[in-house]
Symmetry: C2
């Protein structure tokens, strides 16, 4: 399979996307890989695999690479002899955060009819917005942590300590734990800097967290082992950043069969049907034995490769949702024209 990996993007997570792509270059080395970099000005570049290191991007030498343009069915590269098409079977959307996870890339690829692994438009917007995620979980009969939505207000009904999160950013950006009233103003300022809608959730001391990844394959839904991530009070950006370069398989969490089954059940409910085409990771909390959805990562760091035994086989086997064809017959325009006595 020829797989094109798309990374970068005009996103706060631009740099960790580069780290994810470099990690997958090694992890998926048995596939024919092409690399497409989207810079912060929305220009696509074809990156030679030998140039896939941090320096190419941090020093800006990627700008010497060939520029790619979107066209129906793929990407083309201008040359002196006209233009040639980039050759691939599908694209893996590995742009974390804005562009990749906010429906932009999904829209471009659907518009230009390009096969891709990644969340579709509605799945993107829904999981990019933490409030919409809660509404979606509710519709799937999966519980979440209780919450309050602030849009402009500077007070909360929830008791201290609580967590403040911008509704539409990933990777813990703008997130604060607020332990007392004195800390509130600063935390609100930081969060409102990134979003005009904030979510407040009670901070649950010592909550157990479990991660499960999975995807729909041609042989049905495949789920990863369950990981209990190591954590500080919560993952800050630096720590989470290093997380994107993981490639060693991790050990399965030591939990009861009942809890394992509950976690897999919750994942299955969340995945179906809107995430088909994407490999996602769900982060769950367990409070008093009850599984609560914390977050959906529709493009997890390095695609959660470390949670699967045969990651390459899984990527090759992901099933993409069928494209809905809408054909216009101009029946109504004909009807109106006939009614007016015109042919």
């Amino acid at each position: 399979m020829n797989l094109a990996i798309l990374f970068g993007g005009a996103s706060y997570e631009h740099e960790i996307s580069i780290v994810s792509a470099i990690t997958l270059k090694d992890k998926l080395s048995s596939l024919n890989l092409e690399f497409i970099f989207l810079d912060q000005d929305h220009t696509f570049y074809y990156i030679d695999p030998s140039k896939m290191d941090a320096k190419t991007f941090s020093q800006g030498t990627y700008k010497k690479s060939p520029v790619l343009s979107l066209k129906q069915g793929g990407f083309s590269q201008k040359s002196f002899m006209g233009s040639k098409s980039l050759n691939f079977d599908k694209v893996l959307n590995l742009i974390h955060g804005a562009d990749g996870e906010d429906a932009t890339i999904a829209s471009l690829f659907e518009f230009f009819n390009i096969a891709y692994i990644g969340p579709r438009k509605d799945a993107s917007v829904m999981s990019f917005d933490k409030f919409m995620t809660k509404a979606y979980a509710y519709s799937c009969s999966v519980d979440t942590v209780s919450y309050e939505l602030l849009s402009g207000q500077r007070e909360s009904k929830i008791d201290f300590p609580f967590i403040i999160k911008p509704t539409r950013l990933g990777s813990s950006i703008g997130v604060s734990i607020v332990k007392s009233p004195e800390e509130l103003d600063y935390a609100l300022d930081v969060a409102y800097e990134f979003d005009n809608r904030l979510l407040i959730e009670p901070f649950i001391q010592g909550v157990k967290e479990y991660n499960v990844a999975g995807t729909m394959t041609n042989d049905g839904l495949k789920m990863s082992i369950i990981e209990e991530p190591q954590k500080e009070e919560f993952l800050d950006f630096d720590k989470k950043y290093l997380d994107f370069s993981r490639s060693e398989q991790v050990n399965e969490a030591d939990i009861s069969d009942d809890l394992r089954q509950d976690l897999y059940e919750a994942f299955t409910k969340i995945y179906n049907p809107i995430f088909e085409g994407a490999l996602i990771r769900c982060d769950f909390f367990v409070v008093e034995g009850k599984v609560l959805l914390n977050e959906i990562n529709p493009i997890p760091g390095s695609m959660g490769n470390y949670l699967f035994e045969d990651f390459t086989g899984l990527i090759k086997n992901i099933s993409l949702p069928p494209k809905k064809e809408i054909r216009v017959k101009y029946t109504y325009l004909h009807t109106i024209r006939s009614a007016k006595g015109k042919a």
Copy 2:
């Protein structure tokens, strides 16, 4: 102001978008208008204003028009002398349904940095999905009709008669009123043909309906008069279709000052802040004196021109949300490389 009107799209509402565009050609005749047609195969065409009639599209002669390509900042048209840019200040997104209202066009225009009137990505996905609309209304403290969500099931807990709606289509496509158990199977088949998630709502006989349109302008939020639409049992596709060619101003609904104030308050709550940049129409029900949101039309038929006294002035004065600039500094890649002893 040079305004480009974008219409068509790979949408079940392709034809009514053409009707909307023809209607606005007359209504906005004092502006400098350009017309961009998106055909069902996702090719953009520049349509000469003199060709803006039903025949151009129903007979397929639009294919002789110049093809336009997206580029950073706008559209370009190939010519023998290279390529030239289409000249406009902003685009009015007039594609109803898929493409226009499902975040595709919003994504393309944001990606290519094109100023446009129309719903943004999150506003699009949210109002395109009737279940997400209910969740959003809840977050804005606006009530809606009670409901049940079906995804695959063929039974409802709601008493007959009820309405079945696909969650993600406009213009009453796939919608049925089910009065008795015998009618259920057929109605479910029709609705599941269009979507895998359905909404069931109690059918409220003789419910009062009121429509309000509005937009954020440079002088604050401007709202239209309140209309009580004439209706059959409910608007079917044919009837709604003819609705898209309306251009005569309508009379204001004869309602109490209190109700008027409640409707305007509900509209204001729904509009802010995610619909900035769009001119939307909200359709409300009033049940036992209580205002319930029925539907948000983020690109209403012929832009609801018939609800405003000075529609042209309004279109000229719509304020567009500021673009959020994300600049990448490569701090983290530098940090990692320093940690590894590299420059």
